[in-house]
Amino acid sequence: MRRSGDSIAAEDELRRLLIESVTDYAIISLDPAGCVISWNPGAQKLKGYSAEEIIGKHFSRFFTAEDKAAGLPERALSAAISFGRSEYEGWRVRKDGSRFWALVVLTAMYDSAGTFKGFAKITKDLTERKRAEDNRLRMAQLKEAARVRDEFLAYVSHEMRGPLASIQLQLELLRRERDCAAQERLDTILSRLDRSYARLAELVDSVLQQSRIQAGRAMIKRAPVDLGKIVAEVVEELRPEAERKGLRLTVADDARGKFLNTDGTALRVILQNLIVNAVKFSSRGTISVHVRTADCVHRISVCDQGPGIPAEDRERIFEPFERLERSTHKHTSGFGLGLATSRRLSEALGGHIELSSTPGAGSTFTLVLPENARLGV
């Protein structure tokens, strides 16, 4: 049945009224190239342009400069053509330059003959919801940061109370025995005091070092460094501790005279941390240090025959204050800062740390330093 001209006109009028009376949504249409054809009062209210100002202009002007540069307007149109419609959220720009968070539905329009006529575009302002979400996220992040800080403070105080308690009791022993103690006995007490003092100093140093790195204040100075000499020195320094635990500590490659342009102090700290960890977590076998250079990349590896690290923990242990056994109440001295510090320092030197591990068989931490690395920090 043919509809009369009057009923078509009435239907068009109804449709126009529907679109005109919606002021919470911008309802507009675009031609196939993306230029504005129609503009409702909701669009004027939301975006600030009158219909006269905007009709004929390309819709990309509603996008931010970054999104325009990234080709988002074109991508939105082609997605609507490919899939019939596209829906997305993002920042949009009003006439006065202010931004709002928009939910946009873009639909491809076809006439009854199937000819592509352009796009229907409906936009809603979700800025308030976005702000509330962002605030919630920020609050959650702050809460998490506070939780990490509290946990850290609890951990720091726990770790420091050990050597403090030891110092306190040595003093107690000295007080009780000072009149009758033999020289040998005094030496024993003094060496315990020395060890407790050294542990406290090491804990304080590691916290300060990590906080300097976190604050981006680690000073990195480039100079020619004898790689083999540093490796040999660090190994000699830590050998007594390894031997005390019945471990062998060896250098597999002689790299003396191999020079590279890097920060010797940072390199030393990284090597110390890797070897100290290997000693701390191994109870048997050999810890071997390998120095290899190929294609202008130096690889310094510390291999142990310790318990190994399960795959799911291999990323976590590089985070500050994390350690493998944290959750099990088992105790190993230290703050769990060595790997976090080493990773940050290795990145500051233009390199990185690789980890391979077989649970039950051992782990290998490798410091990878490109010869001509750009120094960061």
């Binding site: 109370r161 308690a165 030891s166 009780r176 109440h329």
Partner: protein, 118 residues
């Protein structure tokens, strides 16, 4: 002579508590972790008091206490927890400890607890 079992992984701290208690005339057996302590007890040691650290390698103080409490022969041995953890009082109550002493250790306080139980 009354025997005290001390479970502490810090060698120097363990040795100094041991020596201070010996100076007061006690017999002291030392263990460096929870497993060693359980081995001593299961081998027949019957101390008048256990001085227990919590953060221990191999078998932690928490695990030690769980095993001790589930063994009728060991559960009644008075146990004082000596630790540097923050919520020591709550943890000590949860672990049904006889007493707790926070690190750094006030030795007079620790000794008072010893005297009350041995």
């Amino acid at each position: 002579m009354d025997t005290i079992l001390i479970v502490e992984d810090d060698d120097d701290l363990r040795d100094s508590i041991l020596e201070l208690l010996q100076l007061r005339g006690f017999n002291v057996v030392a263990a460096a972790d929870g497993q060693q302590a359980l081995d001593e007890l299961r081998a027949g040691l019957t101390p008048c008091l256990i001085i227990l650290d919590l953060m221990l390698p191999v078998v932690s103080g928490w695990e030690f206490r769980n095993q001790q409490l589930s063994d009728p022969r060991l559960s009644e041995i008075p146990t004082v927890i000596v630790s540097g953890i923050n919520n020591l009082e709550i943890e000590s109550r949860r672990l049904q400890a006889t007493a707790f002493v926070s690190k750094p250790i006030n030795f007079d306080l620790l000794f008072k607890t010893v005297e009350q139980n041995c």
